[in-house]
């Protein structure tokens, strides 16, 4: 009961709305066949789901892989079995024993066993292996993984925590075949995409198309319904919208969301053929300052940027109002774990009007750089990042920071960010892997966070995040997260929370039994989705 109350009333209402709007079609009898066409917002470049963090990588092979457990495709707020049929928990809550399915085969015909699970999680949890998603979530929690027998695997935790199962169910914690890892060393190439999922990896044309085909030996009888899935690589909102208006893609439930203007344009073009809905993407937008490089190794300059960035203006203009400015945690997604927005929006940097904050920021910059500062501001050339970056650059000019914008191709940008080869990132969305409030801290703010592009380290953040992770009492946990949020919002950290991103999406009404999920990663396997009528390809 305690856990069930973790999700906020708002989240429950959103899912109820989704079920109401999108779920009625589930009553019809599924029809096998057809190919679903949709899109990836950029070229993934690399395909290793264990080693990467961009949505494009996860989405590129989402239907290929399965995990031990999953977010239930029928009710994405609940955890359900996947490669494990069932599991038990020791009385102290520190040992989880999973009974794996038997007679599951990899796409190359090899049998699946606990050795594959152990090989995958040994890789993910290895201190030498950088895993910004699954590894970053599980490394603080899991001490050891043991294959008890061919179909039993045991996870031994460092401490009992309610976060373990949601983290394990993440779409990034997928099981790869030991023989594939041994053969290729990683999962980057298309030929290494040998999973146990409902679809097989068919082809990857760089910059153009990723295609899956039905796995006729999928371990759930009768699934999937679709013959295949095509993901066109469409970069840029206008291109994506043009494809949607022409009916070339049947679904837009991925990053970046449509802006209201685009959703209205699509509605006018497609009329009743599409269903448009608003949805939180469980994604936070950030400005990153590299704290190891000048000028942002100076806390005064970081504070100046904190004060100058006008989160409300970015949400209003670049997201057309669809977002929650300033918040480290979004109350719609995590309920009262989020610091009340009334308090957040009174804090320096977030409060409106910004005159006092801008005056202080100018003073801080002038104190150290009387002639102002010239900095290179990086952004990835995807979504509407160019627009958001221009807003950030314009806001910083008001305090004497003159930015030169530098765009990166998507994969090249992530590579530069990962290496710390940037001074500042104007805008970067980070999608959460779960709906647990701990997620954002372990993705963005702790020293070992998977997306700590600021190279920021604050012992107090690490300590509070760790305490909250181990805390089983909900009220105490909530207090820890409030303290954590207050500390981050008032410290010159290297990651400035602009806000939580929302937006509009659409489903072609021929696409049936599609259910939006609470994260950007959990509704893209399409194992239970079907097409109402044959679509000419």
């Amino acid at each position: 009961m305690r856990r069930s109350s973790l999700l906020s009333l708002g989240m429950v209402l959103l899912f109820a709305m989704a079920v109401g709007i999108l779920g009625a079609r589930a009553q019809e009898k599924p029809r096998p066949g057809g190919v679903l066409a949709w899109f990836d917002y950029g070229d993934p470049g690399r395909l290793d789901v264990h080693a990467e963090s961009p949505l494009v990588v996860q989405q590129a092979a989402a239907g290929i892989w399965r995990g031990i457990i999953q977010w239930d495709p029928d009710d994405p707020t609940k955890i359900a079995p996947d490669l494990a049929e069932k599991w038990t928990v020791s009385p102290d809550g520190k040992t989880y024993t999973f009974q794996l399915r038997k007679r599951v085969k990899w796409h190359d015909g090899q049998p699946f066993s606990s050795a594959d699970v152990k090989a995958s999680f040994d890789r993910l949890l290895s201190p030498d292996f950088k895993s910004p998603k699954c590894g970053a979530s599980l490394k603080p929690i899991v001490a050891d993984v043991e294959a008890v027998d061919a179909s039993t695997v045991q996870f031994k935790l460092r401490f009992a925590t309610p976060v373990f199962l949601p983290s394990l169910a993440s779409a990034w914690c997928r099981v790869a075949a030991r023989h594939v890892l041994e053969k290729y060393g990683d999962l980057n190439r298309p030929e290494a995409q040998i999973g146990t999922g409902p679809f097989r990896f068919k082809r990857y044309e760089r910059g153009n198309l990723i295609e899956w085909e039905k796995n006729k030996d999928y371990f759930v009888p009768g699934l999937p319904y679709l013959d295949g899935v095509k993901q066109y690589i469409l970069v840029g909102g206008p291109t994506q919208l043009a494809a949607a208006k022409a009916g070339k893609v049947l679904l837009w439930d991925t990053w970046p969301p449509m802006l209201k203007t685009q959703a209205d344009e699509l509605q006018r073009a497609r009329g009743g053929a599409v269903e448009i809905y608003q949805w939180p993407l469980n994604t936070i937008n950030l400005v990153y300052l590299n704290t190891t490089r000048a000028p942002f190794n100076n806390p005064d300059i970081r504070r100046a940027v904190h004060l100058a960035v006008d989160r409300q203006e970015i949400v209003q203009k670049a997201l057309e109002g669809a977002g929650v400015p300033c918040a480290i945690l979004d109350p719609k997604l995590v309920g009262d774990f989020a610091l009340p927005l009334e308090e957040v929006q009174q804090l320096p940097g977030c409060r409106q009007p910004k005159d006092a904050d801008l005056a202080e920021a100018r003073k801080l910059v002038e104190k150290h750089y009387p002639n102002g500062i010239d900095v290179e501001i990086a952004f990835r050339a995807v979504g509407n990042y160019a627009d958001r970056s221009q807003l950030v650059a314009a806001q910083l000019r008001k305090i004497g920071i003159r930015g030169t914008l530098r765009s990166y191709e998507s994969a090249a940008g992530y590579a530069a960010y990962g290496k710390g080869d940037i001074t500042m990132i104007a805008t970067q969305d980070r999608a959460m892997d779960t709906t647990d409030p701990s997620n954002v801290f372990h993705i963005v703010y702790t020293t070992e966070a998977g997306s700590n592009y600021a190279r920021w380290s604050d012992p107090k953040i690490d300590e509070l995040a760790d305490k909250a992770l181990k805390e089983s009492n909900r009220d105490r946990r909530k207090q820890l997260y409030w303290e954590l949020q207050r500390h981050i919002l008032t410290s010159p950290t290297g990651a400035i929370a602009v806000g939580w991103v929302e937006g509009w999406y659409f489903r072609d009404k021929r696409l049936m039994n599609y259910k939006p999920a609470p994260t950007a990663y959990d509704a893209n396997t399409f194992m239970k989705v079907w097409l109402k009528e044959e679509r000419a390809q």
Binding site: A386, A394, G403
Partner: protein, 305 residues
């Protein structure tokens, strides 16, 4: 012949000691004759003059800063914002004006660099001939074999986004064409009698090139410069449209077009006005370039004779 004669007559007039008022009257008369004989060229000249004036005076004329995202997004054209506002709440008129500055700067600088580099390359190798000429022509062949926009895109992808890199890419794009054109002219000129005479009296090669060949290629050089400015502006706009030109916050017409595609139906003014600016500029420059070509080409009618 007619072009050179006309140029000589103008030089004589301007070199005389007549009163400034009479000289001004002469210039006005010449402009009037140009407008009558080349009405399209005159139209082009007016458009180009307006463009230059806008570019030079943009800081004074533009009602707002090109990067001031201080207004409500997607406001339709009104008295306050004659061309409306864009998706970030910037004044489209101000950005179009500042865009003229960027376009003209990129167009002029890249064309002067590119055509000058290509012209020197073509004249020298054409005059020298032999292995140097053959080798240079193979380089020109290989550069011209690549589609220009692909070459420009590749260069920008390699160099990174900046206005200076756009100029560099355009310079490399324009130089081979200029080299090919000027080489063919140099091949003809090196056989001219006065060039042979210069060689016969012992002039060194570089002196012959500098004193006798280059001056006789100037008319072609000017035409090449004029007709390629519009080309350079279009390529810059194309690169910016594709996100590989000027950095996104630079008020580039091409980048404004890209931003405008986000709301073609809801806010057509964000797309329409930068598009019109590009079309009008290219139209004006082409008209003027054609007129100058007519004036300097003795085989075409319409000179100022």
């Amino acid at each position: 012949m007619m072009g050179r004669a006309s140029a000589g007559a103008l030089a004589t007039t301007s070199g005389s000691t007549i009163r400034p008022r009479a000289r001004a009257g002469g210039i006005i008369r010449e402009v009037g004759r140009f407008a009558i004989r080349q009405p399209l060229g005159a139209t082009g000249a007016v458009i180009v003059l307006v463009l230059i004036a806008t570019a030079l005076l943009a800081p004074a004329l533009a009602p707002h800063g090109p990067r001031d995202a201080a207004f409500t997004p997607y406001q339709p054209p009104s008295a306050g914002f004659p061309l409306g506002t864009d998706n970030l709440g910037r004044d489209v008129l101000s950005r179009v004006m500042w865009g003229a500055r960027l376009s003209l700067y990129v167009g002029l600088v890249s064309v002067v660099f590119g055509i000058t580099l290509g012209a020197l390359w073509g004249v020298v190798t054409g005059y020298v001939g032999g292995v140097a000429d053959s080798a240079s022509q193979r380089v020109v062949d290989s550069l011209m074999a690549l589609p220009p926009i692909i070459l420009a895109l590749s260069l920008m992808a390699a160099l990174g986004q900046s206005v200076n890199n756009v100029i560099l890419a355009l310079t490399l794009l324009l130089a081979p064409t200029a080299a090919r054109t000027m080489r063919s002219l140099a091949l003809v000129l090196r056989e001219a009698e006065y060039v042979e005479a210069a060689r016969a009296i012992g002039c060194r090669g570089w002196r012959v090139i500098a004193r006798h060949v280059v001056p006789n290629t100037l008319a072609t050089y000017i035409v090449l410069v004029t007709v390629n400015i519009s080309y350079a502006i279009v390529v810059e706009a194309s690169l910016s449209f594709l996100g590989l030109g000027a950095p996104p916050d630079e008020p580039s017409w091409g980048a404004m077009l890209t931003a405008g595609t986000q709301a073609i139906e809801a806010a057509p003014w964000t797309f329409l006005f930068p598009g019109l600016a590009i079309s009008l500029t290219v139209f004006g420059l082409n008209l003027l370039g054609d007129a100058i070509r007519d004036l300097t080409d003795p085989r075409l009618r319409g000179g100022l004779g």
